[in-house]
Each structure stands twice: as structure tokens, then as C-alpha cells.
Symmetry: D4
Subunit: 218 residues, 8 copies
Amino acid sequence: MSILFDHSRQERIGLPETVFCQGKPLAVIEGLMRDHGGPWASPLLFTRLAPEVFAAVDPQVRALADYHTLSRTAYTAVLPTVARGRVAVVSAGTSDGPVAHEAARTLDYLGIPNTLFEDNGVAGLWRIARNLDDINAHDAVIVTAGMDAALASVAGGLTPRPIIAVPTSVGYGVAEGGQTALFAMLASCAPGVCVQNIDNGYGAACAAARIIRLLNEK
Amino acid sequence: MSILFDHSRQERIGLPETVFCQGKPLAVIEGLMRDHGGPWASPLLFTRLAPEVFAAVDPQVRALADYHTLSRTAYTAVLPTVARGRVAVVSAGTSDGPVAHEAARTLDYLGIPNTLFEDNGVAGLWRIARNLDDINAHDAVIVTAGMDAALASVAGGLTPRPIIAVPTSVGYGVAEGGQTALFAMLASCAPGVCVQNIDNGYGAACAAARIIRLLNEK
Amino acid sequence: MSILFDHSRQERIGLPETVFCQGKPLAVIEGLMRDHGGPWASPLLFTRLAPEVFAAVDPQVRALADYHTLSRTAYTAVLPTVARGRVAVVSAGTSDGPVAHEAARTLDYLGIPNTLFEDNGVAGLWRIARNLDDINAHDAVIVTAGMDAALASVAGGLTPRPIIAVPTSVGYGVAEGGQTALFAMLASCAPGVCVQNIDNGYGAACAAARIIRLLNEK
Amino acid sequence: MSILFDHSRQERIGLPETVFCQGKPLAVIEGLMRDHGGPWASPLLFTRLAPEVFAAVDPQVRALADYHTLSRTAYTAVLPTVARGRVAVVSAGTSDGPVAHEAARTLDYLGIPNTLFEDNGVAGLWRIARNLDDINAHDAVIVTAGMDAALASVAGGLTPRPIIAVPTSVGYGVAEGGQTALFAMLASCAPGVCVQNIDNGYGAACAAARIIRLLNEK
Amino acid sequence: MSILFDHSRQERIGLPETVFCQGKPLAVIEGLMRDHGGPWASPLLFTRLAPEVFAAVDPQVRALADYHTLSRTAYTAVLPTVARGRVAVVSAGTSDGPVAHEAARTLDYLGIPNTLFEDNGVAGLWRIARNLDDINAHDAVIVTAGMDAALASVAGGLTPRPIIAVPTSVGYGVAEGGQTALFAMLASCAPGVCVQNIDNGYGAACAAARIIRLLNEK
Amino acid sequence: MSILFDHSRQERIGLPETVFCQGKPLAVIEGLMRDHGGPWASPLLFTRLAPEVFAAVDPQVRALADYHTLSRTAYTAVLPTVARGRVAVVSAGTSDGPVAHEAARTLDYLGIPNTLFEDNGVAGLWRIARNLDDINAHDAVIVTAGMDAALASVAGGLTPRPIIAVPTSVGYGVAEGGQTALFAMLASCAPGVCVQNIDNGYGAACAAARIIRLLNEK
Amino acid sequence: MSILFDHSRQERIGLPETVFCQGKPLAVIEGLMRDHGGPWASPLLFTRLAPEVFAAVDPQVRALADYHTLSRTAYTAVLPTVARGRVAVVSAGTSDGPVAHEAARTLDYLGIPNTLFEDNGVAGLWRIARNLDDINAHDAVIVTAGMDAALASVAGGLTPRPIIAVPTSVGYGVAEGGQTALFAMLASCAPGVCVQNIDNGYGAACAAARIIRLLNEK
Amino acid sequence: MSILFDHSRQERIGLPETVFCQGKPLAVIEGLMRDHGGPWASPLLFTRLAPEVFAAVDPQVRALADYHTLSRTAYTAVLPTVARGRVAVVSAGTSDGPVAHEAARTLDYLGIPNTLFEDNGVAGLWRIARNLDDINAHDAVIVTAGMDAALASVAGGLTPRPIIAVPTSVGYGVAEGGQTALFAMLASCAPGVCVQNIDNGYGAACAAARIIRLLNEK
């Protein structure tokens, strides 16, 4: 089974191809990592790369990649830093960490400066209040939250920036799997909040990258 | 078809019987209104009594009831005012009016003083902020909200009072019918928020009444 | 019942308040239209304003508003045109018209130049192909589609622009109500596609406005 | 990754912060347990702390906490006993044990006296009948039940006390995961029954604590 | 469009064919009523026959049928009364009337003696208690209930008779449409409760008829 | 934790108590098995008793029970055989075996003679055709089927006997978990088919036992 | 609003464009009917054309179209009859008529000979049995059924022909809207049954047309 | 437990019986493999045969079967190659491999020549474009795709061939389990696309086989 790799995508839509590792055979992941890593490394991002899968990669190949456990991401190299623009990643609680960090690591990979603001759950409003000016100093805002996802609405009412909301699958009972958070974000009472699929930190970073690219083009 | 009426409920659980009018034949509603209204009126509450149904009641009988259009409620008389306790009813937007008013009118009927705080949607946080001390001066808080229902979590983090959340069916797309609001309230990140069925302002008032009754017993 | 109007929102998040008319009493709509229209008109947008409701407005007041039937929107005046940026609104079929036009009219109201590209359904790929260069000459792309919503993925793979997808409730069987389109857009195989609630053309325009505002600020 | 701990919550809403352990790294749980336990112990509650996670905690730290297996809870110390009020926890069957005990243990932690009444399933009505006077001697009633959750309605018709219903995820087929129990409780034919998220014994105790706090304030 | 009528079904499964009128053209209903009514009437049952449809039938034909408004049923004649067995139809509240009466009328048509016990909702347990001996004197029990449908479980624990539960679509919020009642009945904690489709009083009567037929065969 | 055992149920509803083992601690199962087994054995049925759990029971106690792997049931003794009546258990395919055998074993335990007819899937109609006379010689019919559950409708059209349908969770895709089979059975085009919860072979046997008890009473 | 019409589709995929009328403005329908009808009529099919909409068309234009009420279809002319192949349309009951006739009329329009077999519900198996040889003499089989849709499985086991199943929205309770029929067909125990969206008789005819085209090409 | 094997099916519907291994006991699978393999091998297909189950089969029996890991299929022999017709299997991404290969292997088994076209996801339209002429040279097209399944609509608009779409369970968030892909395929804007159950590559091959059989009959 050979995999046709999509090297030309970056030219067309400004986003390089990424390897979604979940369900992919180890040999394929290892092969791509070997080909893109090393002295003439070209940038390649691996998402949903579980620690136990990365641990099973040949140690020599593993050394070619920069791996981050919480976000389950790896890359062989990063893209050049953009000239303009930076992104705020705002999360509700520590359980949203994997998704927030996936977004931040994808931004790192795309060469987009970013800041992570954790623990802004709305059951304690002063948490986001103290970070608000810092957040507004960025050009786009990614919000990750699970459970009732009320942070998306509160943030949407406090920032004029483009805002990309990512529901997380954190929760139990009706919140299990993230659909409650997803629907609450889509039904947000704050206007202009955009939404990504559940746990899709990677997608949120790509959406932010489309905006940052626009800033750099003009 | 005769209806066995449950006159003894008040003794057992402290809540008088109520007539849920939706789907009931006009003759049944009219008969109960005639029997309980007039010079020797005994208190009886009618909920979900649509304006067009009330308009179809015999005018002489209609005059025996106090009807309120927005809440679709009527009563023949109210119960004596309780000695202690009062309830705040807090709504997110004007579309939650029918449910908030159903709660307030049921409290009126049960003899429980109450205050209605409207337009506290979290997309503008200063709205609830300016009302907070007033709200906390009450003994129980009913919160009604539709769409993403983020008000329940924000309020739950700001008040130490017993809090009863009622999702409303207001909304479109994923919010249509109120299940998103219901699930968001159940998954609230603020601890101890209790939830009622969608649009059940009457039930919220009964839940508050159980608490107020406790205050008066002690 | 009085309505507290949120005049200060524009300063905070850059988006003026809007009147969502569905479920609002006629008198409230009429009052707001009278207050904001006329010689000293201030801009106010009304969405989900059904033709039969607008027709019931006092003719003298009605004359103060610019009404558009297909999009069910009205405004008393528009905001000044922005210095930079314009938005493409791309729809799959004629049935997506009401949502696409709601987005376009909201952009008109916000002073953001925009172009509407209709009839780009993917069952005939040459339709979007012929419009592609024109679309890419805009700064943000709103895509509206119902049924299987495959247009969002195809467009997402063809444009580097920020892309905001709006599922429409057009369809029957499993497509009825728009959830299939919503989920297909969220699960899009093209990276960085953002999604709005079903039929929320207004929200898509607000999301685009946050991006255009950013361009004008820099 | 540092965790900002919310020490001031108790003042604001009368409920101390709690550590929801599911999905949290062991090191974080262990750190918090060490910091709050010992000679100058301050009260801290840990919920959803699986036996195998607790067993993995450093034995010296583990000795600082009072752990209860069935409820999967631990605390380093408890709050002072309240002056007034006590709570009845009523469960339908032995499978509801984990949730009923989570509620009871949270009450213990909050210093609220409580009694657990197990095995009151309505397929045998004499079970709850024999406990009724005892239950009514408490100030608030928590009901936990899975499957058809009919106990909530039966209890709601028998007690005038504030009643907080917690659906449990016990069951198979249509009852699997607890949504049938949740919906049956929300649709209860007994007025004023309040509902918590599935399996949320902790939330039910917090809701009861808001009521008990009210009794102690007056 | 001709309709092939299934005259031989009664021989095979002991249940005569029935005309489900919802969605059928008036002419078809009228034709069948004319053919089966009159001096040489043969028994034919019409279900889901709305009052406004029956009112539109030619008055001469209408006179050939025995129509019952609440149950929306009509028949041209009834089958001979069975030698042994009778059925109890037990309902929770007056809103379950249409379904309970559809069951009772179908039993009338099938020649099976039956008794209707209304208003046995479990929020007042003494209601079913006072009827219990009477109910148990029948050979099969049909239970109709909406909302939380707790009556099915309570009845299932009180009678040794075959028990057929019919959820009704009565309710609002999560109970709307009857799925909550259906699932609660399927998850009943009382063993051996059988369930029919929502609002299917006709089906419940047929299920009871299969049992009564067995009694008469032996 | 003690378990109140319901020894008196048999008198009231004619069905002895049963131990649903899933989720019960091993010690409880072992204790009940020890108490009811041995020289003065009293009949007790254990359902959903996984092979690995039974294997973990003390060998001396294990010897007191009659265990059946496929149905995951055990009993310490069986009830006396009834004087009249027998039940047919008809399954669609071999994957329905666990549920069909749970029904058959429960009938064995209740002293009700029964016959198991396997492999009657409707994709090959001659299978049920060849068994039809045998099946109709029984007094009640239990049908188990997964996937599209079409067997329930086909059987319902071929037998005049009381028919109890049990959907099984067998299947993949839309059939996974059994809800498609459940809904297809509830919507069966054959009149008078009764339905049990998914995989509830035990409940089907109890429903049949209520019918057989009726035959023996008369 | 102009509509770009897709005249070239027939060349590409062998299926001419069709006008789905539901939700389309009357003027658009009327215009297309006028343009394609008359002395130089070109074939155009209109589906989901409600009788009241067709009645509102200008009588002169209306005369240009062949309208069929039950199927809600119209065409201005039909395509030439194909040289080879014919299709059987098999329905379960009279309520499936609108969908079965939509399929048949679309086949008429496409020039494909077809036969309609109505009333083959599986609760009476002899119905389909008597038609089987006739059905098998066709080249493809379309099956329409609602409720439990068991006919698809039974037919799938009896014919070697390509089989296209269309669930209909006929039914109440769990069958309402057609999802139960859809899922039962997808989970059919007969191999190789293909499925269309709910009520999509048009789509089934197009699927059959792809097969018939293949026969004519070879 | 004996299994009645359906040797005569091939005559009736032209498709030989297949062993669906998931959930079947090892001994049954092994027995069938032994009976059909070896010197006088008769063709028998095993689907959903997990590698670990196949590995547990007696090595001597295992040697009698041709096993393919990715598709989880085995057969003892294949049917004779058909005289006419071949099938294209088109997949969106490498994650759809197991389903695409199950379809291809089933076609191999049925003696139907087929070609597999992998990696045709619509986020890069040139992928399917380059394969289009090759695909159209086949007689039927099977399309497998997960996530948003947009490939089915794009392919349906590009080929005149009979097209059988198989949704795959590949995906996360709203795409998890395959229902989004299933519904998007059913709602496809391309006419005449037929759909199979989620992950049912075997069923798609059987549907294609019904078409190929037709070609060979004529």
C-alpha cells in the first residue's frame, strides 16, 4: 500500500499537508518521519500521534522529530516565522489542555507566534477578566472549552477579534463526547463566533493561519 | 369523561394541584374555572392556557379569573403570602419572557414574593453585574435562558443561593426546541445548579416553593 | 415589558446590536424602527423579519426602513463603508438563497463590500471552477450549502482565504433541518473551514466582519 | 503546566473548590493532596478518583487522605459541621451505590449531616413506604436512580421537601448511559423535582448545600 | 388506485384487518365504510379517523358507522363477544385518554369485555392503590402513560397479569413526542412489562386479544 | 453494604426475584449463591453473569450452581414445572444466540417447558416456513432478532399466538447497539407484536411467564 | 434572481436536469415550464410540485405540462424509450403510493418501461409471493416501504436483480419521518440491497436508470 | 449448537452464502474453513475475520484459506471469473482502506474483475480528475469515504455508471462512527447515488454483483 503525498497543497491553499496518525500503520508514520527529518529536513506535522505509537518508532527516526506528549504532535521542522500577526489560545480548564496545545503546536509549526492562556472557566469570571487586554493584543483568538462551553459566549462578548471556538470532548453524562459543548458554541449568543469539529485544535490553528496569511499578504 | 381532582395534594407535598390546559377540552377548563372562581373563590392555577383558548371561555366565567397573556397563566385566587422568603427570576433575553413570567406568576399564585430581572445575557456581562447584589438579596434564584444558556453557569458562579435553571425552547438550528440549552445547563461548570424540563417555568417555581416552605417551617 | 437596548456594543466588539425579530412582538419591532429611522436615522439591522410581519408595520414607519424580502432583513441606515477588504458569498443552489442573502445584506449594513456567487453545487464542478479566480480576489469567503454540503470541502481545497461555512436547513429525509449539512461541514476534509449554526447567515457576516475589521486596524 | 487553584471560591458562592480527577495527571493530584494534607491540613475534596489512580499515589501522600472506594472520593480534611439542617440520600437499587455514596461523601466533606436510604426501587413500593417518615425528617432529599428512574416521581409525590434527582448511568439497551433516566426525571409528573447531570452525585450535594447554607444564614 | 383488502387475515392470525385512516384518501375510507356497513354489515374497524375527516363522509354512509370522537375510531359492526377473558385499560392522566380509548374501542370491536381505569398517575399513589383489586380481576392489563411513564413500573410491580404498556406522546420539552415515555417503559424495573409503539392503543388491544384468544382456545 | 433481598415478590406478581450480576461485586454474588445453593437449595436465578466472573467464584460455591456459558445465566435450583403451557423461542441467526438462550434458560428456571428454534432469518423464508406448525403448537412465542429485525413482522403475520419480540444488539453501522432492531419491531406492520428492551431475553421470559401463569390459574 | 440551468448534464452523467419545486418561487417554476413546453417542447421533469402550487400556475402554461397528483410530478415531454431493459417498482402498502409513483413517473420521463406492484407488505407473505415471477422478469427492482420496511429484506432474499430500496416517511411514533425504515433497510439481512434517502423515489429511478443505461450501452 | 448452512442461496439470488465472523465462536469458523478448504475446496468467503482470530485457527486449517489482513477477509476458493463486466472501487483516503479492500476482495471471491483507485479525497480535486477516464471504463463504481463523504457527490456528478457509496466509520467528533458520512451520502446532490450501511464493503460488492450478473445474463 503506497501513499500519494500531497506536496503541492501549500501552494494552493497556503497550508502544508499534515499526517493524521490515528489509524495509520506504524510503518507509514515511520517512513514519512524518516523521509522528512534529518540534515535536509523539510517541515512535516504529525497529529494524533499517541505516545505509545511514537515510542514504538525506531529510535534513530524518533530522534529526527520534535514530539510533544500532551498535544500528541510531532514535527520534523517548522515553517519560517510569519512577518505579521499572532494568535491567542484561550482554554477553560486544564482538561482542555490536549486540544489547546494541539492548536498551539500547530501554530508553532506554521511559524505563527502564539500565547496560551489557560484556566479561564466562566464559573470564575475574574480569570478571563485579568487576561483580557493581553488577549486583545493578539490578531485572532482560539477558544477551547468542554462541558457547557460558556467561555465561547463570554469571550465572544469581550473581544472584537476573529474568534474560533473548539469544543472539547471533556465531560461526563450529557457532556460526554463533546456534542453539548459543540452545540452550545454554535448557538452562542455572541455574534460572529466560528466553530470547529470536536477536539479539532489542528483545524482551529489552520483557520487562524488563513487569517494571519491574509494579514501578511496585504 | 369526568376528571378526578386532586384536592388533597396540598396537604401532602405542600403544592396545590394545577391545571395543565394544553390538550384539555375547553369544557373541562371552563368547568374548573367556574367551580373555583366567584365570591367563595378557592385558589386554582391554570398553566399553558393559550390566549385563544381563554378567549373562547364563557365571558361570565372568564371574569372570574386573573389572566396573564405572556405567561399563558390564569388563577381564580392566590394563596396567602408566606411569612418568609422571596425568589429572584433572572432571564437572559426578551425571548425567554414567557417562561420567566410563567415562573413569576406561579410564585404569585403560591403567595411567594418575587422579583423579575430581565435581559441578563452573558454576551454583555455588565448586565448581570449591575443586578448581582439585588439578586443575592433573595433566597432562591430561578434562571431562564435559551440558545447556549451560558447565563446559568455565569450566575451559578456569582451567587451562593439555591439556583434552579430552566432551559427555554428559544432558538434556531441546533438550539431549536431547547435541548442544547438543557444539556448546557446540566453540564454547567458551576457546582450545584439544578435543572428543570425545557420551558418548565411552573416546575421551577414549585422547586423554589419547596425551599421557601422549608424556611417557613423552621 | 421594556427592552434595554445595547447601544455600547459597537465600541466593545466592533459589531452593532441587531434585532432578531422572530418571536418579538410587533410593537417592539415597530418602536425600534421608528426610533432609529427618519431624518436623523441611526443604523439598526433587523433579521428574521418575515414579510407578513413587516407588512403589518405602520406604513409611515415601514417607509423608514430598507426591506429585502428573500433575506427577511431590514435596516434604517447602513454603517460607513470600510476602507479595506471585501467578502465573497458563495452558495450551492438557489434554495440556499435566503441564507446567502442574509449574509450579504448584513455585510451591506456593516459597510463591507461583497459579491454573491450563486449556483456552485459540486454535482457540476465546472460551476465553481469558472468563479474561482474572482472568489480568491476577495478577503474572506462565506459558503452556504444544504443537503450534503460538499461545497464547503471543495471550496476549502481551492481557496487560501479564511472560509466561513453556513449549513442551510434545505433538504428532506436525513437532510431535513440542516444537521447533515452542519456535521458534514464540521467534518470537512479541507483544513481550516469554520462553521456557523444552521441558517445563520447573519453570524457568518459578523465573523467575516471581525476579519475585515482586523485588516482595517492594521 | 501549572494549575491556578481557586481558593477564594468558598467566600463567593459558599462552596469550596473540588478536584475532578478523571483525566488529570497523577502528579497534579498527588501535589494537591500533599499540599492540603498533613498536620496543617486544609479541606480539599477529590472526586472521580479511581482506585487504581489512588493506589498509584506515593504511599506517604496517600496516608494524608481519607479515601472511599465505592464513591471514588478522597478528602484531606472536612469542613466544620453546620449548625442546622441535614440531607436524605435515597437510592433505587444497589447499582446506584457509587452515585449515592458520592453525594453522601460530598455532604460529609461539606460538614452536612446526612442519611443514606438504599434499595427503594418502585417495583416494590413498600420499600420507600417504610422509610418515608424518616426521609421527611430531613431538610432536603437527593434521589438517585437509573433505568426508568420512576423513584423520582414517586418520591416527589410523597415528600414536601426540596428534591434533587440524579440519574445514574446504570442500565442496558435504551437505558445505557443514563439518558432515559435523565429524561424521565426531567419529565417527572411530580412538581418541583430538580435534576442534575447523569451520575453527578457531587453536584446534587452542592445543590443541597446551597439550601442548607440558606437555613444557616437565616 | 385500487386497494387489495385482506379478508383472510382473521383466519390466519385471529385478528381482522383494520383500516388505518391517517393519510388515506376520503374516497377510499368512504367506499370501505359503505361496503361493510348497512343491513348485511360485516365488522370493519377504522382507526386514526380524525373528526374532520369523518364529518366529510357522505351522511348516508356516516350513519352506517359507530364513531367515537376521543379515540378517533369507527366500526361498522363488532365481532361476537368472546366466551372467556376481559382486559383492564389503566391510564395515568386525562391526556392519555385518546390512546386509552383507542385500546378500549378496539377491544369492544374484537368482542372482548374491558374496563377503563383513568387517572392513576403515580404522583398520587393512592389512586392506583384503590383500583388494584379490580384491575387484578381482569386477565390482561394495558397501561397507557406519557411524560415519565412511571405508572408502567409501579403497575408492573403490583399485578401478576400480562401487562402491555403504551407510551403516549403527551408532554413537552424532553417528553414531547413520547420517546421518553417509550424508553422509560422499555427500561422498566418491573419484570415482564411488554411495550408497544408510541400512541399505539390499537396494537395494545391486538396484543391483549392474542392472549384472550389463547384462553378461549384451551 | 448489605442487600435487602426481595423474597416476597413471588407471591405478589408471580415472578421470583433475580440477581442481575453486571456491576455487582463478586462477594455479593458469591454470598447469594452460597445461601441459596446446596442440600436445602432454594431457586435463585443469576443473569448477565459473565464467564470470567463465574470462574472467579469460590469453586465450592460454584459447584452449587448450574451455569450456562452462552446465556451467561446460573441457577441454584429450578421452580416446579407448570401444569399447562409451553413457549417457543425463535431466533433469526446464530448471533442472537445469547439472548435466545437467556430467554430459554429463564423459562427453564421458571419451570416452563420451551423449545428453541434457531436460524429463521427472513432473507431465506423457507427457514421459518418449515418450523411454523411446530411453533404454533406452543402457547406463546418469543422472537429474537438483530439488524433489521424483519423476523418479528414476518412471524407476527404467521402466528395467532401472543408474540414477544426482543431486539438484539447484534450488528454494525446503523444496527450497532440494537436501536434499529428495537424501532423496527415497535413499528412492525404485524398487529399485536409486543417488544422488550434490547437484549432482554430475561424480560421476554417473564412476559411469557405472566401469560402461562394465566393459563394455569384458569 | 436568475437561475443558471444545467443543460449539459445529460451528456456527462446520462441523467437530464430536474426541477425540485419545493421551496422554489412560483415564477421560476412557471418560467421553466413555459420555456420547455409547447410545440417545440423539450423534456423537463418537475418533482415535489404540490397540487396547490401547480393549480396556481397560469392555465395556459399549465396546459403544457403532464401533471400527476399522487406523485406530485409534471413533465413537458418525455425522453425517447430505451431499447432494452425495464424496472419493477414494488411497494409495501397504499401509503407508500406517493413515493412509488414518483419513482414510476420519473422512469416514464426517462423513457424506461416499468411496472408498479402495490400492496406487498410482509405481514401477508402471499402478496409478494404471487408477484415474484413477474418482478423477476424485470431488470432492476425498486422497493418502497415505511414503518419497519421489512419488505426490503424479504424481497432482497427472493430476487437476484439489482435492488434499490426507498424508505418512506409513512408511520407514527418511532416510525415517524422514516428513519426507522431507512435504518432497517441499511441493516437489511439480505446482501446487496442499496438504499436511497427517505421518500426519494426520484433518486431511486435515477439509480435504476444508471443500470438500464449500462444495458443499452453494451 | 449446530449451524444450518444455506448452500442453496446461490441458485436463488445469485450470491453465495458468506460467514460474518464477528461474534462467531472460533470452533464454528474453523469447522467451516476445514469443510470447504483442501483438495476438493468449495468457495466460501469469511468477512470481519480479525487477524487475531485467524491466527488462533489450527495452522493446518489456516493453510486452506487465502487470508488478507487489511480487509479482514478469507476464502477457501473463488468463483469462476464472469464473462463480462468489471467494477471500480474508488476511495477517498488511506483510512478507508479496510472497507475498500473488503469490497475488492469480495469481488475477487465472486469472480468479478475490479480495480482499486485510492486517495481521491475532494480537498484535492485533481486526484479524482486524473483517474476519471479509467474509472468510467468500468461497469459499476463503488465509492468509499468517511468524514464528510463529499467524494460520493463529486463522483456522482462525474460518472454515468451505477454508483454504490459506502460510508466509513473513519473520523472523530461529529464524524465518529460514520453517521455523518452516511447521511451526507444519502443527501447527495448528485442523482442516483445508492448507499450501503456504514463500513459495509461486502454489501457494496454484492450490490455490484447483482448488476454484473444482469450484464452476463443478457
